[in-house]
């Protein structure tokens, strides 16, 4: 795994990602600007759902990335457990709050879309329930990191929870096919191509790009913070040990 270990050095990671950060931020603003313009001003309403279809431009990117971030978190957790890659824990821990926010957005905007479309804010169908479980998995994962004084034990416990919770991912993905759900089946990533009109697909793609750049930007910022926190902790331990080693003056 030479490529993986080349990025194992936190200082090198901070240098490379700091150079990427301004570009990603510009791309994020650009995608969101264009996505909101087309999504809110310059795209037609749906022939059945009317303007309520515009909720799709925040709901779908948030929902797909909620699962996507979980995949990142689970893969990073596996890498941390197996290869003890020093940045993998940092990446997994930093992803969790972003994934939790995306999941919360997907649930809230889904309820706001469900009321005018289905006539209900919430149903305990397989898709909605499995996404709610994912929110609890994110919160549980974040809670586990806080529950241990020993950082290494916290990392191990959290990584195991992330990996066990990954069982939920195919359930979310295929829930709409395996069970009879109120939630519609996939309409973008399908074997026979998307079933959404290009006029609606274009703003959706732009907003998706914005969400993806947001994830990258916030992930980098949070990983930088985590690296800083670990340096603070190391320095404090060092100072404590130095102070303990120096004999007290009488």
């Amino acid at each position: 795994m030479p490529t993986m270990h080349r990025f194992a050095n936190p200082a090198r990671f901070v240098r490379i990602s700091s150079a990427l950060l301004p570009w990603l931020t510009v791309a994020m603003v650009g995608f969101f600007g264009a996505g909101l313009y087309f999504g809110l001003f310059n795209s037609p309403p749906d022939y059945q759902q009317g303007d309520s279809v515009r909720i799709m431009y925040v709901h779908v990117p948030a929902a797909t990335l909620a699962s996507g971030v979980y995949v990142v978190m689970a893969v990073a957790s596996a890498v941390a457990l197996i290869w003890r890659h020093p940045l993998a824990d940092v990446a997994a821990k930093s992803s969790a709050p972003i994934g939790a926010v995306f999941t919360l957005i997907a649930l809230v905007t889904g309820a706001l879309w469900g009321q005018p479309t289905w006539g209900t804010w919430w149903v305990w169908d397989a898709r909605l329930t499995s996404v709610l479980i994912m929110l609890f998995l994110y919160l549980g994962y974040m809670g586990l990191w806080q529950a241990f004084d020993d950082e290494r034990r916290a990392a191990r416990a959290a990584a195991i929870l992330a990996l066990v919770g990954a069982v939920n991912l195919p359930i979310i993905r295929f829930s709409v096919d395996w069970w009879n759900t109120l939630h519609q089946p996939a309409s973008i990533i399908r074997a026979d191509g998307p079933t959404i009109h290009p006029d609606l697909l274009m703003p959706l793609g732009l907003m998706w790009g914005g969400f993806l750049c947001f994830f990258a930007v916030v992930l980098i910022v949070r990983m930088h913070r985590e690296i800083v926190l670990r340096r603070i902790q190391a320095l404090q331990t060092l100072q404590f040990e130095t102070a303990a080693a120096v004999p007290q003056e009488a």
């Binding site: 009317g50 909720i55 957005i105 706001l112 005018p116 910022v221 603070i232 320095l235």
Partner: protein
């Protein structure tokens, strides 16, 4: 004026469309601001600690030279 009203009315779905966008903006904006603020605050703490360590070392060197 009517165009603006029509836009904000969202074909009668204003009560659903606007809250969806506002909730998204508040949650994502909040996470972004919190993450940046926390990074800056912790960087300041790290700078202070590193400065304190440098001071301690130079004091220790000064004492050692004085004794020699």
């Amino acid at each position: 004026m009517d165009t603006i009203r029509t836009f904000f009315d969202m074909g009668g779905y204003a009560a659903f469309v606007w809250p969806a966008f506002v909730v998204t903006a508040v949650l994502m904006g909040g996470l972004f601001a919190w993450s940046r603020h926390a990074l800056r605050a912790d960087r300041r703490t790290l700078d202070l600690l590193q400065q304190a360590r440098r001071d301690m070392r130079s004091r220790a060197r000064g004492t050692a030279e004085g004794e020699a």
